[in-house]
């Protein structure tokens, strides 16, 4: 089965739960467990939070976050994009415990890497950031959703 969703929303913290719930609901079209859906919701939450906190530095006025997800049989790809400040040093940003905000733990990219098979970050200062996540699920686990 192939399917695709794409949506955008204002860069508000209140929309993080909306984004992860949408992608989590979309992921139920794949044969996967509830635990795996929770992991999808977690990585979306991390990626969208990054857009709001770091990409737009908590300035929500007229700022947009775009989320897209593609299902291709047992593979799910997720793209989360902002048009904010971008990342100067992607390698440093992806290091465990690194955060540009000292009050945060810097676990976002570590969680994304841990729960997805592939993580790609495309960014340039002033040009926004695009995070692409990919995961292939084992089939025949649908009974876990019953």
């Amino acid at each position: 089965m192939k399917n695709y969703v794409r949506f955008e929303f204002q860069s508000l913290p209140e929309n993080v739960s909306f984004a992860r719930a949408c992608v989590g609901a979309f992921a139920t079209q794949i044969e996967c467990t509830l635990e795996e859906i929770e992991e999808i919701k977690l990585v979306v939450s991390e990626a969208v939070s990054n857009c709001i906190i770091h990409g737009y530095e908590n300035r929500p006025h007229e700022k947009v976050v775009v989320v897209a997800a593609i299902i291709n049989d047992q593979t799910m790809e997720i793209m989360v994009e902002d048009y904010g400040k971008g990342i100067a040093d992607i390698k440093q940003a992806m290091e465990p415990s690194f955060s540009s905000d000292p009050t945060r733990m810097g676990l976002g990219f570590s969680l994304m890497k841990s729960f997805m098979d592939e993580l790609e970050v495309i960014s340039q200062p002033g040009q926004g950031t695009s995070v692409k996540l990919k995961r292939c699920f084992q089939a025949n686990t649908k009974e876990a959703l019953a």
């Binding site: 913290p13 209140e14 993080v16 739960s17 992860r20 635990e35 929770e38 919701k41 977690l42 939450s45 991390e46 939070s49 709001i52 906190i53 009050t103 945060r104 733990m105 810097g106 676990l107 976002g108 570590s110 969680l111 841990s114």
Partner: protein
Amino acid sequence: MEVELKQIRNTLFVRVQGEMDMVVAEKLRQEIDRKLETKKICNLVINLEKVTFIDSSGLGVIIGRYKKIAGWGGKMFIVGARPSVYKILMFSGINRLVPMYNNEQDIINI
């Protein structure tokens, strides 16, 4: 989010309900810190029995409160984390700093 704060002697019990993401984390941080600023609190117990989801923003609030509590020599505990939440707590390494128990009674029995 619903949060219930209850003080018993010098220990603050915080019972959280819902999803601990960046919205909830900020509200929770403010409510706990307001109580901690009274200087009458030494220890902190965070009850996650009714928390259905946690991300790094939620983890950040817990670790931030741990730093405060540890700063004045107090103790902090996490209780009741369900498996999906427990898994994220373990991933973060918080369990190495903050002891985790099944329920509040387990702490009272220590």
